[in-house]
């Protein structure tokens, strides 16, 4: 039996430490890891907890991130509670196996500390890695600060391992901005946290010798499509379980999470939609601009990026009858398209009552600071669109980049 870890009512933890404590409290059986900046401390700390008797588990050192996720797949198929952490290039190398994990319906928890993808090489935070894995069939939860990195990692086990779900779950947090920023964190005591997560219930595990199974079978055009359809259905249906787990967590802790978070949307005339720590900075800026300029700004944030909350995004957009303009903030180089958040939010908004004007900002690449004044400037620009009744700038723009103004496409409506 693992030793209990002494925790204060209020701790001062960074996002990495918070995530590693959640892995320890969930008593993860196997962590197969290949550490990479900025997520290194998560698995490093798990290794220390394991070595010092604070967790009954195994730390498997592997030769690459591809090996790390492969080890996780093997351990999960064998019937263990499994987790690991990665970032950026490591995430990219894991990508092939991410699809294996979801297709095999293995509820692995991956704590992703978001970091830019090379080239140029960069260790700092943006959402390139999150976007790279968005079609991999994993549930994607997004933490905006270290408390949430802790809370959502605990919830991730409950969601992924639920017998109606059985899918792997990523919990994202911003590289450095969240992972290396210590903040007040209110942890659960070990016993309470473990009771919330619950014992692992193996399904089709290879170590059940009374029922031999084949994992990782090959299918061709005659079976593949049905399996992918079933997997997609499971991912779409996981919305209900995610809602239930978040509700249970609220009952336990008083901390409320929703698949789509909305702030000050009830009377909003314009809204900003973002992911990660920028959500909180945007709320901070929106409160200021409401006070200082009377501009009615709201903030919408997909807490659950996959399954994409098409339903709740529409609810958020229709929450205020006055909503005229929405800006979608994409912190990832769009690679020759509009930003992913813009595309997905626009698709959802197309069938709303409000059908607001929607524009796209690329921002904060490679860890470029996202500031309060920048957020306010973007909010004022939305107000200008709303007043004009059409989009007054390019539809996609780059914010905070040096050099001549950079933007693409203009509206055909006036």
């Amino acid at each position: 039996m693992a030793k209990e870890f002494e925790l204060n009512e209020m701790e001062f933890w960074d996002g990495n430490y918070a995530a590693s404590q959640a892995l320890r409290q969930a008593q993860v059986d196997v962590v197969a890891a290949y550490p990479i900046t900025p997520s290194t401390p998560i698995v490093e700390n798990y290794g220390a907890y394991q070595a010092n008797g604070y967790v009954d588990g195994e730390f498997v050192m592997v030769e690459s991130e591809h090996g790390a996720m492969s080890g996780c797949v093997g351990a999960a198929a064998s019937g263990g509670r499994v987790a690991t952490a990665t970032s950026s290039q490591g995430f990219a190398l894991m990508t092939e196996v991410l699809y294996q994990a979801s297709g095999m319906r293995l509820p692995i928890v991956l704590t992703v500390v978001n970091r830019a993808l090379a080239s140029p090489l960069n260790v700092r935070g943006d959402h390139s890695d999150m976007y790279l894995g968005r079609d991999s069939g994993w549930i994607n939860l997004d933490a905006f600060n270290s408390q949430e990195a802790y809370d959502l990692t605990l919830c991730a086990f409950r969601v992924g391992e639920h017998l109606d779900v059985r899918l792997p779950v990523m919990v994202h947090q911003d590289g450095f901005t969240t992972s290396h920023k210590a903040q007040n964190v209110n942890p659960l005591q070990d016993e309470v946290a473990y009771k919330f997560v619950g014992d692992y219930v193996p399904v089709d595990d290879m170590l059940d010798f009374s029922r031999p199974v084949t994992h990782g079978a090959q299918t061709e055009e005659d079976w593949h499509y049905e399996h992918k359809a079933k997997q997609h259905k499971a991912l779409m249906d996981s919305r209900k379980v995610i809602d239930e787990v978040l509700e249970d967590f609220k009952e336990l802790t008083g901390r409320e999470y929703k698949r789509v978070e909305t702030y000050m949307m009830e009377d909003a005339e314009v809204a900003i939609i973002a992911l990660g720590s920028s959500v909180e900075t945007s709320i901070f800026a929106a409160k200021q601009i409401r006070e200082e300029e009377g501009l009615k700004v709201g903030v919408i944030a997909p807490r659950c990026f996959r399954p994409f909350p098409f339903d709740l995004i529409r609810d958020a957009i229709d929450m205020s009858a006055n909503l005229k303009a929405v800006v979608c903030m994409d912190r990832s180089a769009p690679g020759g398209a509009m930003g992913a958040l813009f595309n997905e939010v626009s698709a959802a908004a197309y069938t709303t009552k409000n059908r607001p004007l929607i524009t796209n900002y690329i921002y904060g690449l490679g860890g470029r600071d996202f500031g309060v004044e920048e957020a306010k400037r973007i909010m004022r620009e939305q107000k200008a669109h709303a007043d004009a009744g059409h989009i007054t700038t390019e539809i996609q723009q780059f914010s905070g980049v040096r050099g001549p103004r950079l933007g693409f496409f203009t509206t055909r409506r006036d």
């Binding site: 095999m104 319906r105 059985r166 089709d204 031999p212 005659d222 079976w223 079933k230 259905k233």
Partner: protein
Amino acid sequence: MSKGLDGTNKRGILELGAEEKKGWDEVPQGVVLNSFDGSIDNTAFLKPEDREYSEFNSYIASVASWRVIKPVYNRDICIDCQNCWVWCPDTSIISRDKQMLGIDYDHCKGCGVCVEVCPTNPKSLLMFEEATNNDDALAGWPEKKKKAKK
């Protein structure tokens, strides 16, 4: 040859690809395939033909149609050395208590490895056109080759 517990030997009863195609709502979660139906108590001690293989086990499926040439086995010459059983890549040599019984033509793909590794003179396994009648093949089996004199 002995029969399965339900009275039938299920080896190769289904042409590969001829299985019933189920809808997305009925396929197994995570493409996890059972090896056996029901209890497997004592299965390790049963002969393959007596095991309750599931419908997705390759034992049930036949790939006989993939083969264009086939090995024919000659019991009169075989010394039961088990070489072919060891080398066969498709577990298609049927051997019981170290005695050769023959070829599993439902799974043999005609690769010819068994013939290559057979040490007898003449060989106890030879390759023939798929359409050749086995009795005809045995009737025309070659004689022992004499070592060439130096």
